[in-house]
Structures are given as structure tokens and as C-alpha cells.
Subunit: 521 residues, 2 copies
């Protein structure tokens, strides 16, 4: 028996095995007479997404000159690998795309009006998909789900690979399912804890009070009669490159570790802190690195994605357990993962994104949230998505889920970034962010390499002084203080003083002069 | 035995009875050497707040010329009666004030830099208070709680009056408690279901799957050794005037009822809808009135405040059960309430605001949220708090709790309002709101008297066209479409096109010309 046949334990499904190119007819049937085919993909933040079927579809479009003529609405957990979706974007195959993306050509499509993209809190996306909100004009279902799987159980239920994401809901609401069994990887079976969103008024309690608790099944409940094809894949995930850290990130991390130390001393945090959530990138890497070298012990992580940097954190013995919805590891990270799989699988649990990012659980557990926005303003509103207010980068992702519901909501960013012509061309602290993803009502602590502003209990004008003083780069401090004082006078010391005609002066200068420092151009 | 003595069932506490003016010494003691005394008050949206002690304190300040010299930090559920807090503001007695207010003189104090005010999601405020975040520089406690009560139980636990709000947490963390027993009103005993926020990692599941479920006690757990005084009050709540409705509100309500009908027909809502949350004011009144006359039956309400308009809703038999944290009734409303108390008490349950507004419960029950912002913009961001971006009105209240977590998140506002010189001087739909309280990631449906824009599944530029087409007033449609098209061209059809130098042109015109219609000045 082949490895593929081994992995399909429900032998009645062996008859569904076919080649990737043989599945194209299903998409043609589903798309007949429609503007776009509604697709659901497994996968979350380049892991666990289908590969050989999307590539076969792209090849088909390319060979038959169907660019711009055959379109798909693509719903998935978060982002997927560039070799699939980004290529689809290049071939103009994507009509609508939800709820998060990373990819040069997708971003280009989104920011030129070609791809209709919407970003949504990642905990809400699968529930709203299940509620039928995204395909409400076509009955609320998906035409076809393409799911990467480790195996199919004796009863025809799908066992996922390196991510859960929105796959349980996609499997649930799709009319038809195509399964890609990835035999190029060992099976992830046993690492998932699956529950599917219910419809109100019958939604259930999420009974997690300790992140080690399993509340579901290790496989996705699957109506096996919907499985129309099973294909074999041996392609690896196109993981993100391992990213290191730098001096600025290190300084930010040091500020955060100091803050934790103070909070523990004051009795506002237990000695082993509370479950940690962290975003991705160099600052997150530095924070986790800082924790490895800290006196804190018995730490836990309740987060969206497990990155490379968490592996040494687990190895160090400092971190006892991680919940996530995706193993966002690089190729090097995955090598290490599989080497120590027997150990890691006892320390990591993958949950659906509606659970990993759920307000109910985040608030109950008292998660400490840490995420990087593009910029934040003097009153503690943060922009995570649209540069200059207009141009989408990736999407809000889970940052809103965590920042809104956390015990302590931290956002961190460099105080300044260079442009082509000015080493301090972009300030991370601005008078008013041109796009708000997180409001002043949601954020407790702001951090740059300059310092940390603890905003808890502060009114807006006091907040502004604290943020400028602690977080702004020296190159921008004078201007920001001056703006604040003039705004206070202009509004008669109103609650949150702004001069609307000047609020975006830094951003307009950046666009026109290549630096926010209009006084320096 | 007097009625006061009757209400104090723990007879060991009878010795604590005193006159309001005799409590002043406690505040003097607590304030010795401090900038401001940290006070917690019971009460929520002018009901259930302490009266005779705050009035005695105000009298004392007035008589002794202590204006501006004796200051208090005031933490309460939401707003309280004008005869207490607003008078305190006039006497310059308030230093810091959290998390929501209504009052002419408080607003004046806030918008002139005198009162340090912060608004916070009402579900989060009591938990953050309990976490010690608001008084972290002074040990995280409150000096004194002043609590209006119906009674004290045999074991010394406090039974509240017409609101729960943050009283359970305030009683929990206050060093000392002064109880005002209101013998001027019948007892509300049995109408409350009290649980107190826990500290993570020991927070518990909130086990509500049906809004009839009781999960707590009818009284607030109270350490009776902290009770330093009991005073009698006979003063009624200074309830809000009953507000009717008008043609515009009626048209908005009609649009919403039509939407519900469509959703039920499409199978996306059950026949009895889902638990309803509604804000306050004429639109809320019209919506509830519309439901009374609708074919929908067996409705339930999971909301923050029960207003006058809910009484005929209960009388009609259409509404079976209401959860709230406060009976925000007018004097006329309370007369009716007490007349039919035996009926109403079986249909209404008051919960702490951390429960009435809790994301966990709101999402699980699938609440339908309806709130009125100041204005919303073409991409579906809404401003609920700061007029012109700077001047605070009341605070975000619970709107963020509900809009973020609801099954369907609806915001409704008139498309246009008059100014002194222009009957269409203020548009409810603007290019960009100057303060964001609710983001595009949170709102599903926007409604004005012009129409209803269902934004579910729409990308920003499509959203903008739908909002302008359906919701904007004819006097602003051309300008808004023109702005959108020029912004698209200027940004190369970016994700969410804006022209930053023009985004606030309407607001600046309003300030300078008394109308947003700069083309018409």
C-alpha cells in the first residue's frame, strides 16, 4: 500500500484519488454561469494551505489564456504561500479575498482596485463565514473547499496539517471538498483540538480555563459524502524566512521585560506572568529572546502563530505550553520541529482561529497582548493596516482580537524609520493616525526603543504628554509637543485636542517631500 | 422599628446609622495628605447612585469655600444624577472621572481641561478597576465606596437598587463603604444577579447560554467590617425625561424592521430574531415601537439600559425577557414600573455591567447590536464620542462592547442635522470621521432615514458606494461621490482611498462657516 493509501484510513474514499489536473472539471462545473467560484482554502500564515490543486488551476489558466476570465473568491484562514495565491494574483484569477494576506502581487492587486479585499478580525471571520455573511447573495455556502490534510480517519474525517485556521468552518459549509493529502510531511495527527462555530442561539460555552485543556476532536468533523477528490501532495510549506532581531527591537524588548518586572513586583501580575500573545517580526523575536534570559519561569503562550523564535523558548524550559492556530515556521524552523517532534507535540496545541483568537478565552485567561502597528498617535490610537490611510499592507489579522480583550494591551514599534532621503523620515508617533484599527479605548501600554508609556488610568491630554515624552524620537518630540499645545489652545483645552487642518501634516509631507520632517526638507 | 431599621437585617450594623453630614469626617480622613480622594459610587445612567452623602459633601464644600481645594476621583458605572455629580463639577470637586458621563457642567469641565476624564468600554471598566489599573499609584484600591442600597441582608451583604453597574467591584476593592439605604423606594431585592470580576488566571466561565439564567447571588458579596456608615435616603433617581420619537427616527426604524424581515426570510435570523441590544434615544424608541407592531414574537433583550420604551414592549407580550444593568426610567416610567412591578420583576434581570456588556456572552447569544454614533464615514468607521475630533460628548459607553461582538452590528443615525444657518448643515455621512470609536472591522450595517447599507462581505470601495448611495442625504451625495472618485484616482485605486489634505474639509467648514456645505456658504 502506498503512503497515500495508508493515510486514507476510510477505504471507501480510495476511489476518490485522482491527479490534481483532473480536479479542474469540478471548478468548471461550480463556476458555470457565475461571476466567480467561491472557494475555501485551509491554511494560515503560509502553512497548511493547499498546493498542488491551486498550482494545477494556475497552470490551466496560464495554458489556456484564461487570465482575467476565470475568477475565484478566495476565503482562507489568513495568508497562504506565494507560489499559490500570489501566482493567482499575477494571473488575475482573484476576485474577492478575505480576511488577511501577505504577497507582493496580491497587495498590488488590492491597491490597484483589481482584487476586492476585506480584512476582518481573525476570530470573527470563520464565524461570519459560517453565518453565511460572505456569500449571502449565493445562499451562504462555499462551492468548493480545498483542504491540505495529514490523513483521513476511519470515518472520513479530515486530519489537518500545520495549521487549523478556518478549515473546520470551511469544511462545514462547502458544498464539495477536495483533499490534498501531504505525504511529503509526517502526520500532524493529535496536535489539533477542533471545534466548529455554532449558529446562535445555540452557540456553546468555550470551556477553556487552562490552555492545556482539549475541548474538541483531533480531526475536523467532515461529511465525507462531500469529498469529491483526493490528491497527493509532497510540497513543503513556503514558510517565512527566519527573522532575527536588531538593536532597536532589543531595546523595545528590554523596556517590556522591565515593565513585566515592575508589574510582578507591584502584585498586578503573577510571578509566571499570564499567557502571552505576540505578533510576528523582529520585536516579537527580541521579546521572546528576552524572556528566555529573564527570571520568569513556567510561562505559557496563547497566541495566533507559533514562530521559529518559540522553539528555543520551549527548549529553554521557560515556556511550558503553547496554544496557537498555526505553526508559522521557516524551512529551518520546520527541520528543527521535526527533529524534536516527540517533545514539541506534548507542549503545543493547535486550535481553530475562532478559538485561538476568541475574546471569551483571551479575557478569561488574562492574556498579555503584544503587537506591532504601523504607527500610533499621541492619544493612543493605532494604525495596523493602511499606510498613509489608503494603502493596505496585510490586514488587521488578530491584533484587534488580542488588543481589545487582553489583560494588558501592549503595542510596540520603532520610534522612527528611515526614508530614502532622511534617516529619521518616518515617525512611529504621529499627531493623528490616518487609519484607526485600535482605539484609545483598547490600548494600555505603548512602547518604542525610546521608552514605555503606561497609559492605564490616564486621560487623553496626560496620555499625550506621556507618549511624546516616553516614546517619540528626539527628532519629533518638539513638533509633537508643539502640536499638542497649539491644539489645546485652539480648542480651549477640549477633551482630545486636535487641529484638523494640521493633523496629517506629517503624512502629507512624507508623501510630498519624502520625509515627515517638513521643517527639514 | 423604622423602615430604615427594617431594611438593615444584619442588626449588628444598626450602630453604623448616622446622618449624611456626619460622614464628612471619613472623607477628610481618607483625603489627608492626598491630592484627591478615590471614590467609587454605585449607579449607572442616572439610576441607583448615592444621593444624600454626595449632596452633603457638596453642601460642605460650598459652605466652607472649599471649591477647587477638596478634590475627588470619581469612579462609577456610567453617568449619575445631575444633582450630585454635575453639582460637584460646578463646585470644582472632581479631579479624575471614569468611564462615562452625562451632564452639562461635567462636560464643560472635561472640555476645558479641568476634569481629567477617560472613557472606556463599559464591560472593561469594572474589571480594570478591580485589576487596580485606575489607582495603581496608590495601591490599586478605592478609599471609600458610596453605595445606594435597598437593604442589607442578615449577613451584611448589600442589596442594590435600580442599577448594578460596577457596584460589585467597587464594594469589593473599597477600603471603606458608606451605604445609603433608600427607603423612599420599594426594595429591588431579587432583581439582581451578582457576580464579581475575578483576577486571572482564576477568572471563571460566565455560564449564560440563555438570558433567563441566574449565575450569581441577589446581593453583592460584602465584607461588612468595611461598612463605616449607613445613612437613610428618600430621594428619587433623577431619571431621564421620556423621549418620544420623530419622523426621521421612524424612517430609520422602518428600514431596520425591513432588514430583519429580509434576514428571517433568508434564514440568517431565527423567526424570533436574536437577543436585541439597543442604545438610548428617539431612534431606539422608534425601533422598539416598530417591533411592538411587527409580526416578530417571543423576542428577548440583552442590553445595557432598560428605558421607558421597553415597558410597552413588555406589556405587548412581544418581548418575553430583558437583561440589563440599569433601569434608566424617567419619573413617569418608574411610576408605571412600580404599578406593574409584580409582572415586570418576573421579566427583567439586572446584571453587573461586566456581564451585561460582556463579549463572551454577547457573542455566544448572538446579540443584534443597534447604536447611534455622532457620524460615520464612507468606509464604515464611526465616531461616537468626540465632536469635531476634539470635544467629548458622553463617552463610548457600551457601544464598543456590543458593536464589536454582536451577531449583526448595526449603527443608525440621521443622514443630516441642521445648524443655525443651514437646515442641512451637518451630514451624518462624512469622508472620514475625525475620531474613530468603531472601525470598519466592527460594523455590518449602517442605517439612516434615507436607507440601509448592508456592508457584510463588501470591500472598502464597494462599501463606500453602498453607504453614499443608501445612507447619505441628497444634499451631500454629489460631494461624497466626487471625493471618493478623486481619492481613487489620487491613490491609484488603493485599498481605502483618501485625500488626507481634504479628508476633514466638511468638518473644517462646519467650524468656520457654520455648515459642512462649504460650496453653499
Amino acid at each position: 500500500m502506498s503512503e497515500l493509501e495508508n493515510r486514507i484510513r476510510d477505504k471507501s474514499l480510495l476511489s476518490k484519488i485522482m491527479k490534481p489536473e483532473d480536479t479542474i472539471k469540478f471548478f468548471e462545473e461550480a463556476g458555470a454561469g457565475k461571476r466567480s467560484v467561491n472557494l475555501g482554502w485551509s491554511g494560515f500564515t503560509p502553512v497548511g494551505y493547499p498546493k498542488v490543486v491551486p498550482i494545477a488551476l494556475a497552470d490551466h489558466v496560464e495554458k489556456n489564456n484564461l487570465q482575467g476570465k476565470w475568477k475565484f473568491n478566495l476565503f482562507t484562514g489568513a495568508s497562504v504561500g506565494a507560489e499559490t495565491e500570489d501566482r493567482w494574483a499575477t494571473l488575475d484569477m482573484i476576485d474577492r479575498r478575505w480576511p488577511y494576506q501577505t504577497g507582493k502581487n496580491i497587495a498590488k492587486g488590492i491597491n490597484s482596485g483589481k482584487i476586492k479585499f476585506g480584512d476582518k478580525h481573525l476570530s470573527m471571520f470563520p464565524q461570519d463565514l459560517k453565518y453565511g455573511f460572505y456569500t449571502k447573495d449565493e445562499g451562504g455556502k462555499l462551492d468548493i473547499a480545498i483542504i491540505e490534510a495529514s490523513a483521513i480517519t476511519e470515518d472520513g474525517n479530515i486530519v489537518l496539517t500545520g495549521a487549523v485556521g478556518s478549515a473546520p468552518e470551511i469544511i462545514d459549509i462547502a458544498d464539495k471538498i477536495i483533499v490534498e493529502i501531504n505525504t511529503g510531511l509526517p502526520s500532524f495527527e493529535g496536535m489539533h483540538d477542533i471545534v466548529v462555530s455554532d449558529l446562535p442561539p445555540y452557540r456553546k460555552i468555550i470551556p477553556i480555563t487552562d490552555l492545556r485543556q482539549r475541548i474538541g476532536t483531533p480531526w475536523c468533523p467532515t461529511d465525507k459524502s462531500k469529498i469529491i477528490a483526493i490528491v497527493e501532495s509532497t510540497l513543503p510549506d513556503n514558510g517565512r524566512a527566519l527573522r532575527g532581531t536588531d538593536e532597536v527591537a532589543q531595546a523595545i524588548a528590554d523596556n517590556i521585560i522591565d515593565f513585566f518586572t515592575t508589574e510582578v513586583k507591584a502584585g498586578r501580575l503573577p510571578k509566571n506572568l499570564l499567557p502571552l500573545q505576540s505578533g510576528v517580526g523582529s520585536i516579537a523575536n527580541a521579546v521572546v529572546g528576552g524572556l528566555v534570559n529573564s527570571p520568569f519561569e513556567n510561562l505559557t503562550v496563547y497566541t495566533e502563530v507559533l514562530q521559529d523564535t518559540f522553539l528555543p523558548f520551549l527548549d529553554s524550559g521557560k515556556c511550558k505550553y503553547i496554544n496557537c492556530t498555526s505553526l508559522s515556521l521557516s524551512n529551518e524552523g520546520f527541520s528543527e520541529w521535526w527533529e524534536k517532534f516527540d517533545k514539541y507535540k506534548e507542549m503545543v496545541l493547535m486550535r481553530p482561529q475562532q478559538i485561538s483568537n476568541n475574546p471569551e478565552v483571551i479575557r478569561r485567561l488574562g492574556v498579555i497582548a503584544m503587537n506591532t502597528p504601523v504607527e500610533f498617535d499621541i492619544y493612543a490610537h493605532a494604525n495596523s493596516t493602511n499606510v498613509g490611510g489608503s494603502r493596505m499592507i496585510n490586514g488587521i489579522g488578530g491584533s484587534g482580537d488580542f488588543e481589545r480583550n487582553a489583560f494588558i494591551s501592549i503595542m510596540h514599534a520603532p520610534s522612527v524609520r528611515p526614508t530614502k532621503t532622511d534617516e529619521f523620515g518616518i515617525s512611529g508617533v504621529v499627531p493623528k493616525v490616518p487609519h484607526v484599527d485600535h482605539t484609545e479605548h483598547d490600548i494600555d501600554v505603548l512602547v518604542t526603543e525610546q521608552g514605555l508609556a503606561d497609559l492605564r488610568g490616564l486621560a487623553p491630554k496626560d496620555r499625550a504628554r506621556e507618549i511624546i515624552k516616553k516614546c517619540a524620537h528626539p527628532a519629533y518630540k518638539d513638533y509633537l509637543f508643539d502640536y499638542l499645545e497649539r491644539a489645546e489652545k485652539a480648542t480651549g483645552y477640549a477633551h482630545e485636542p486636535h487641529i484638523l487642518s494640521e493633523a496629517y501634516k506629517l503624512h502629507i509631507s512624507l508623501e510630498e517631500n519624502g520625509t515627515m520632517r517638513f521643517w527639514n526638507k
